[in-house]
């Protein structure tokens, strides 16, 4: 007997694929996706794209204006800073740093948030209270303060900044997962799985978590946007990436002294931050509309 290949029935598609295909119709989300792709490709292929070495100091080429000024040259398209380093190269390599921060800090927050949220929602009771109080403590610090304090005590470095930002975002993920787990635990299939004797972690990861994938994906995207902004803010304050590492926020900080003479050193990194964050926000908004109407403002 030959097995007939099953007919491709559109109704058999996974519901999430269905929702994601609707995303395509959301033009702003597509724009966001394009921007993010450009950003990621820039970060990954930085050494190939960058015209100069971002750390190369060239004291003959200090504070040269961008190419469209009368004194600008095509050698330094976006001009140079006070140490003669090419702005465009530093922006391109800065994308690497920003991408690393976004991925690592949101990664930390995702892993710990999902873990804590699942434990909290599944086992309930005392451990739920403890974990929720810890989340409250993290949320008791406005905006950047916790990250600033952590970095102030542990020492300013990019790694500490990533960890600090990651810690600040844990409650966002924990709450989503906890809510979802609490909701799903009431349902029959969980009780059925337990009665068969399925191990707890199996139930959590294979059965319950897939149900909150939508909000988690949205939160991941939007958190990446915030992470880039927060990392830039920390570097601006001198608490993140240390010079000479090219980081967009740090570049803005260093350009404050040049604000009158060479305003381009300050302008372009800011535009880079704006575009990168905007990309993630556009995609996040689009994903939210497509995947989880509950999360809408």
């Amino acid at each position: 007997m030959t097995k007939e290949k099953a007919q491709k029935n559109p109704f058999d598609r996974h519901p999430m694929l269905e929702q994601l295909s609707q995303l395509w119709r959301n033009k702003t989300a597509v724009v966001g996706l394009v921007i993010i792709t450009v950003f990621m490709l820039t970060a990954i292929f930085a050494p190939l794209l960058s015209p100069h070495d971002p750390l190369e100091v060239s004291l003959y080429d200090q504070i040269k204006p961008p190419v469209w000024h009368e004194k600008g040259t095509w050698k330094n398209i976006l001009g140079t800073d006070d140490l003669g380093r090419d702005t465009l190269s530093r922006i391109i390599f800065g994308a690497r740093v920003s991408l690393a921060v976004a991925v690592i800090s949101v990664g930390i927050a995702f892993v710990f948030g999902v873990l804590l949220g699942s434990i909290s929602g599944y086992y309930k009771g005392g451990i739920d209270s403890i974990i929720m109080r810890i989340m409250d403590i993290i949320l008791a610090f406005p905006y950047l303060l916790l990250a600033i304090v952590v970095v102030a005590y542990l020492g300013p470095s990019l790694e500490n900044a990533m960890m600090a930002i990651g810690i600040t975002y844990i409650p966002r993920f924990a709450r989503i997962v906890r809510g979802s787990v609490l909701e799903e635990c009431e349902k029959d299939y969980v009780m059925a799985a337990r009665s068969i004797g399925a191990k707890n972690w199996r139930i959590i990861f294979l059965a319950i978590l897939p149900n909150c994938m939508g909000p988690l994906i949205v939160q991941t995207t939007l958190s990446m946007a915030s992470a880039i902004l927060d990392a830039a803010a920390l570097s601006f304050l001198g608490l993140g990436a240390q010079p000479p590492t090219p980081e967009w926020g740090g570049m803005i900080a260093m350009s404050r002294g040049l604000i009158l003479r060479a305003s381009w050193v300050m302008t372009f990194p800011g535009i880079a931050i704006l575009l990168a964050v905007l990309g993630f926000n556009l995609l996040g908004d689009g994903l939210r509309d497509a995947l989880d109407p509950r999360l809408r403002d």
């Binding site: 409250d136 403590i137 005590y153 926020g249 803005i252 604000i259």
Partner: protein, 334 residues
């Protein structure tokens, strides 16, 4: 209702305790001898010993924490290393500056945010709607420290319209009563100082208001859109009420409920964002003071300042939640 408030206050206490433990423990997690950290590398042996006695650094941790909490109850947040001034005194002096900046920023954010939100909602899919929503998204995506510098470049350095930094120009005499310069100027009828103070606050306040304004605009638009779809709006229009009455008297009142919560939450965000804005514009508030402390590794100030800011933030969030419960009675039943 009252039960809800009391329950929320009960949750507040362990949270604040947790914050104090965290802040306290951080000093001991830092690599290095706490006494040396607090006084600096060049401190003499005698001062180190004196500090260890005073803070009980030789005692076990839980004893130290007990001493720390006892001092806290007495209102002693410690002393700054550099000037030996009480942290609490400095906080009292600088906090009004931050509050003034935050309040003005939020007023700007609410005013323009709500107006843009209403217009966007009533003229959905128009050019105005599209432009203002894209603008709002850009506002949320923009680094405010960069925006502040751009404003400074355009309005102070290039056009010369607004002063670069600070709260008041040198040479303006203002009698300080409340330390809210605008209020003091009005109370003492010092109109020159009032103009000067307002001129100084415009740029930092507008910078700080960008993100809250964007969020309020989006929130208002979405809330208004929800409300405008309701049946009672159709009834009002069918009755023959003017668009103005329908929008402002009926729709807005209900749409504003979630907006109020958002504004309240933005207060906390603005308080945190003040650190960046104050640093750029040299605004002498709590934010800049914390930044200087972090730069100078003044751990006493970092500790005391963090506790204070976190406490204020938690209390504000509590007030916002209670306010929301009062406006929207369905919440307190949970």
């Amino acid at each position: 209702m009252l039960a809800y408030i009391i329950r929320r206050i009960f949750i507040l206490i362990p949270t604040l305790l947790g914050v104090s433990i965290l802040v306290f423990v951080m000093l001991h997690l830092t690599p290095g001898d706490p006494a040396v950290l607090l006084l600096g590398e060049r401190a003499t042996e005698e001062t180190l010993v004196e500090l260890r006695e005073h803070l009980g650094l030789n005692e076990p941790l839980y004893v130290q924490y007990g001493m720390f909490m006892k001092r806290l109850m007495k209102g002693d947040l410690g002393e700054t290393i550099w000037t030996r001034q009480k942290v609490w005194t400095e906080v009292k002096q600088r906090f009004p500056a931050t509050i003034e900046l935050t309040v003005v920023a939020l007023c700007i954010a609410c005013f323009f945010g709500i107006i843009f939100g209403i217009i966007s909602a009533t003229k959905q899919y128009s050019i105005f709607d599209y432009v203002s929503m894209v603008g709002a998204l850009a506002g949320v995506s923009m680094p405010i420290f960069w925006l502040g510098l751009i404003f400074m470049l355009i309005f102070s350095l290039n056009l010369g319209w607004l002063p670069i930094s600070g709260r008041l120009s040198v040479g303006i005499d203002l009698e300080i009563i409340t330390n809210f310069y605008i209020l003091d100027a009005v109370l003492t009828r010092n109109w020159a100082a009032l103009k000067d103070a307002v001129w100084h606050i415009i740029m930092p306040a507008v910078t700080l208001s960008t993100i809250p304004m964007a969020i309020v605009a989006r929130m208002t638009r979405s809330a208004m859109l929800d409300v405008l779809r309701q049946d009672y709006i159709k009834t009002a229009k069918a009755k023959g009420l003017s668009n103005f009455t329908v929008t402002f008297k009926h729709a807005l009142r209900n749409a504003l409920i979630p907006v109020v919560t958002t504004v309240g939450l933005q207060f906390g965000v603005a308080l945190g964002g003040a650190i960046l804005t104050e640093t750029i514009f040299a605004w002498p508030g709590v934010g800049k003071w914390m930044y200087d402390a972090v730069m100078q590794r003044d751990y006493m100030v970092i500790q005391g300042g963090t506790l204070f800011i976190a406490a204020v933030f938690v209390v504000i969030n509590l007030c916002v939640d209670v306010l929301y419960a009062i406006i929207n009675p369905r919440i307190s039943v949970q």
